[in-house]
């Protein structure tokens, strides 16, 4: 058995989602190789080589591969696929973009967003916004899987795998135009220990940032948002927590002015401790909150800041 993990990285280093995917790969069993696709991604490959339990790291570098176009990743992975029984990627927007494409080319039914490996061919994945968990067994000889990072612990450091170069593919019918990334010194939403999320109640972009940013900075937290807050332009799209946004499971999740719709809960209900601040005592968010504070955020958040010292 051999498993290929497609790394999530920023060129210089690999993100923790990769470590978590390696843990899922180890549960499937067999040799684990990591593929780093990118442009100027030697640093990431070296970082991947240090993950414990990795046999080797494959580095595919070429101009354009840095933008992770699905067609180019597909063209890079297909020639390697013969050597593997399973191909895994973290269920990030990139992983979700290229994994089903690779699966279709291999005539394999992809298995999306797994949270548990039951056996090498059987997996658990949430469906219906996390209101049900499906255990599925695959009869495909080769498996293509995306891994929900919150379902797995991070693989440890301490390896020293060799790095080999492989040929990168291209995307002849696609051109990269531009990118607009949110700059922030705060921890990444998916990896943060504490997340503070704001909802529609915040009312404007100015208010959202005036209330949420200082609180996040005080707690060393990442900032999230409900769909309503993102739709209204109070927060960037990247902040959205939920069924169709990011799934987070921090130690502490503080929801401020968020009602707790099913779709929002799908993205945060596995958090260790949930706090809700909402002025409506009947808001559904209180049904999942460990600590609920029924209050106007305009009063509660300044008091919280003061109490935190």
């Amino acid at each position: 058995m051999a498993v290929l993990v497609i790394a999530d990285h920023d060129g210089a280093t690999v993100r923790d989602t990769t470590h978590k995917t390696v843990t899922a790969a180890a549960k499937i069993g067999g040799d684990i190789d990591i593929l780093v696709v990118g442009e100027g991604a030697k640093g990431a490959a070296d970082a991947a080589a240090k993950i414990k339990g990795v046999r080797k790291v494959l580095l595919a570098e070429s101009a354009g591969l840095g933008k992770v176009l699905a067609e180019a990743v597909e063209a890079t992975v297909l020639p390697l696929a013969d050597g593997y029984d399973a191909i895994l990627a973290p269920a990030t927007t990139d992983g979700k973009n290229f994994a089903p494409r690779i699966a279709a080319k291999l005539d394999v039914a992809p298995i999306s967003d797994i949270i548990e490996v039951v056996s090498p061919d059987t997996f658990v994945r949430p469906i219906y916004a996390g209101n049900a968990l499906e255990t599925v067994q695959s009869s495909d000889a080769k498996k293509v899987i995306t891994v929900r990072p919150t379902g797995f612990d991070s693989a440890e450091e301490g390896g020293s795998a060799p790095v080999e170069s492989v040929t990168g593919g291209d995307a002849p019918k696609t051109t990269f135009v531009s990118e607009e990334m949110v700059k922030s010194d705060r921890p990444e939403l998916g990896a943060a220990k504490i997340v503070v999320s704001g909802g529609r109640a915040l009312g404007s972009s100015e208010e959202f940032h005036a209330v949420m940013d200082p609180l996040a900075d005080k707690l060393g937290a990442a900032v999230g948002a409900s769909r309503a807050a993102v739709d209204a332009g109070y927060a960037p799209n990247d902040y959205q927590v939920g069924q169709t946004g990011k799934v987070v499971a921090p130690e502490l999740y503080i929801a401020i002015g968020i009602s707790g719709a099913i779709q929002h809960l799908a993205g945060m209900k596995d958090s260790k401790i949930i706090v809700a601040i909402n002025k409506d005592p009947d808001a559904p968010i209180f049904q999942v909150a460990d600590y609920g504070l029924v209050a106007d955020y305009k009063i509660a958040v300044p008091e919280l800041m003061a109490a935190l010292g």
């Binding site: 699905a70 990030t92 927007t93 979700k96 290229f98 089903p100 494409r101 690779i102 699966a103 279709a104 005539d107 394999v108 039914a109 992809p110 999306s112 967003d113 949430p126 469906i127 219906y128 916004a129 209101n131 049900a132 968990l133 499906e134 255990t135 599925v136 067994q137 495909d140 019918k173 696609t174 051109t175 990269f176 135009v177 990118e179 607009e180 990334m181 998916g190 504490i194 707690l219 769909r227 739709d231 799209n237 169709t244 502490l252 209900k269 401790i273 949930i274 706090v275 049904q287 999942v288 909150a289 460990d290 600590y291 609920g292 504070l293 509660a300 008091e303 919280l304 003061a306 935190l308």
Partner: protein, 254 residues
């Protein structure tokens, strides 16, 4: 330009799914079903391409075909798409649930027949939550894909698409024909007006069977069981911020 919009009949997004006691699946008996919300956004965008709404030039789309793979009642979902403004529909009947790979294969056969310039579809169905069919359809067709679109511009045989990705937004240009999957912020779908609902009743829906396309739709996955996730119990209410901080400190999370 001809646009094909695959639409799926799913549990209404306001309904909380309940797992069946025998763990064989989710109970859909007497549950309100609707068009997958993402597919509504896809239909709306196709109609805007036709009407020339927003930044689109008029008649960017000339014909919009809505297609659904599913049970007889998926007709209603297609009617809904016709009421928003699609021109005609195709129902590919299937009494068994098809996996994303099988749906993609059937849709490929429909594309081979219909020859659209663009397939606009939802990024994810809110029941299966696979987020896979669009990407697989693009792969089977050897077309480029632009997933998670929050802005679409069509010109000179190309689509410029802004995508919602982790970390922000990415804009790419794909040569047509292509598959675009839509995200929540592409548009806000209209409510179909009564006259348009009436008009939709007269529009054509062709009915086919999965078998007509001769594609391999045999399942690759076996559902062993469907269970309820661990329940979270409501905790306690705190009186004020000071009490909250004390509790969080005692738990060691701050």
């Amino acid at each position: 330009m001809k646009v094909l919009v695959p639409v799926k009949r799913v549990i209404d997004y306001n309904v909380k799914a309940r797992v069946k006691a025998d763990q064989s699946g989710v109970d859909l008996a007497n549950v309100k079903m609707s068009m997958n919300p993402f597919d509504e956004i896809a239909v709306e965008e196709a109609v805007r391409l036709k009407e020339g709404k927003g930044h689109h030039a008029a008649n960017t789309a000339e014909e919009i075909v809505a297609v659904s793979v599913g049970v007889t009642q998926a007709q209603e979902t297609i009617r809904n798409a016709l009421a928003i403004g699609a021109d005609r529909g195709i129902l590919v009947q299937s009494d068994t649930d098809l996996e994303p790979l099988a749906v993609a294969k059937v849709l490929k056969a429909v594309v081979d027949e219909e020859k659209p310039d663009l397939v606009l579809m939802g990024k994810q169905a809110i029941d299966g939550d696979n987020n896979a069919v669009g990407q697989m359809l693009a792969a089977l067709l050897d077309w480029p894909q632009a997933t998670f679109a929050s802005k679409v511009e069509i010109k000179d045989g190309k689509a410029q698409v802004t995508r919602e990705i982790d970390g922000g937004l990415q804009t790419i240009e794909v040569a047509l024909p292509a598959v675009i999957t839509v995200d929540l912020r592409l548009n806000t779908p209209r409510y179909a007006s009564l006259p348009n609902i009436m008009k939709a009743k007269k529009k054509e829906i062709a009915t086919k069977a999965v078998a007509d396309y001769g594609t391999d739709t045999a399942p690759r996955l076996k559902v062993i069981k469907v269970t309820e996730p661990p329940k979270r119990e409501a905790g306690e209410k705190v009186a004020d911020a000071a009490e909250l901080v004390a509790k969080l400190k005692s738990k060691g999370v701050i």
